[in-house]
């Protein structure tokens, strides 16, 4: 029972991919953090991604955890404007 079901793993993977795309587009995720889905499996660059999530959580007035919690995912899934929140 401690082993996650395949559907849970897939959902988690989808969430991270959505987060990667979102942070890339709206929070100027550096190139070094690209390919996050594979890096997370290797526990590499986690702090960089986490910092971007924190930046986004701060912008939206969410609890700053650096984690992909449900409130953060909820914001990422909302329809929105395509202009970055961190201006280029």
């Amino acid at each position: 029972s401690a082993v996650p079901r395949l559907s849970e793993i897939e959902k988690n993977e989808e969430d991270w991919q959505l987060a990667e795309a979102y942070l890339n587009r709206f929070y100027k995720l550096e190139d070094g953090s690209a390919g996050f889905a594979s890096k997370i499996r290797n526990y590499v660059s986690k702090s960089s991604l986490s910092n971007k999530i924190k930046k986004m959580q701060e912008f939206f007035g969410l609890e700053i955890t650096g984690n992909l919690d449900s409130a953060t995912m909820g914001i990422m899934e909302k329809p929105r404007c395509g202009v970055p929140d961190v201006a280029e």
Partner: protein, 169 residues
């Protein structure tokens, strides 16, 4: 409120706009009305004047397009990203694009064109996204009845910091 880095703004108060094409979701009259009203909310509180032109290069070129639509910032199909606009500058600056894969509406059964256009024109005039959830310039879409729409104080402060107040207020 936030401005773009360098506090980019138009160096003039008379701004032209041109509607390049229309969405099949609405009549052209409805699109014209939504766009005109969206500009009016900004001109009501600043010295800015907006004039529509039918030919040639306007400061703010308005169009509907889907997926990759010529500016290297592709849309993403239905939902997700609804529209985007470029900050004030020559050329593509100020141009405003709406995702044609959305369902555009004058009411609430889809995305309200007036509300989205008003937000995007804020960018076209120099406002970046606000952290104030009650501001028009907050990044996420929220429907409110357009009859009751008014800019938040945050939006008013942001645009008046760039262009000053309307002389008629």
């Amino acid at each position: 409120y936030n401005h773009f880095p360098g506090t980019i703004k138009w160096k003039k108060n008379k701004i032209t706009y041109r509607i390049l094409n229309y969405t099949p979701d609405l009549s052209s009259t409805d699109v014209d009305t939504a766009i005109r009203k969206a500009f009016k909310i900004w001109s009501d509180i600043t010295p800015l004047k907006f004039r529509r032109i039918l030919n040639g290069e306007a400061d703010i070129m308005i169009s509907f397009g889907a997926r990759e639509h010529g500016d290297n910032y592709p849309f993403d199909g239905a939902d997700g990203i609804l529209a985007h606009a470029f900050p004030p500058a020559a050329g593509i600056g100020g141009d405003t694009h709406f995702d044609e894969d959305e369902t555009w509406t004058m009411g609430s059964n889809g995305y309200n064109l007036f509300l989205v256009a008003a937000h995007e024109f804020g960018h076209a005039l120099g406002l970046a996204h606000s952290r104030d959830p009650g501001a028009l310039m907050f990044p996420s879409y929220t429907f409110i009845k357009t009859k009751y729409f008014r800019l938040s104080q945050d939006d008013v402060n942001g645009i008046q910091a760039l262009y000053g107040r309307s002389k008629s207020i």
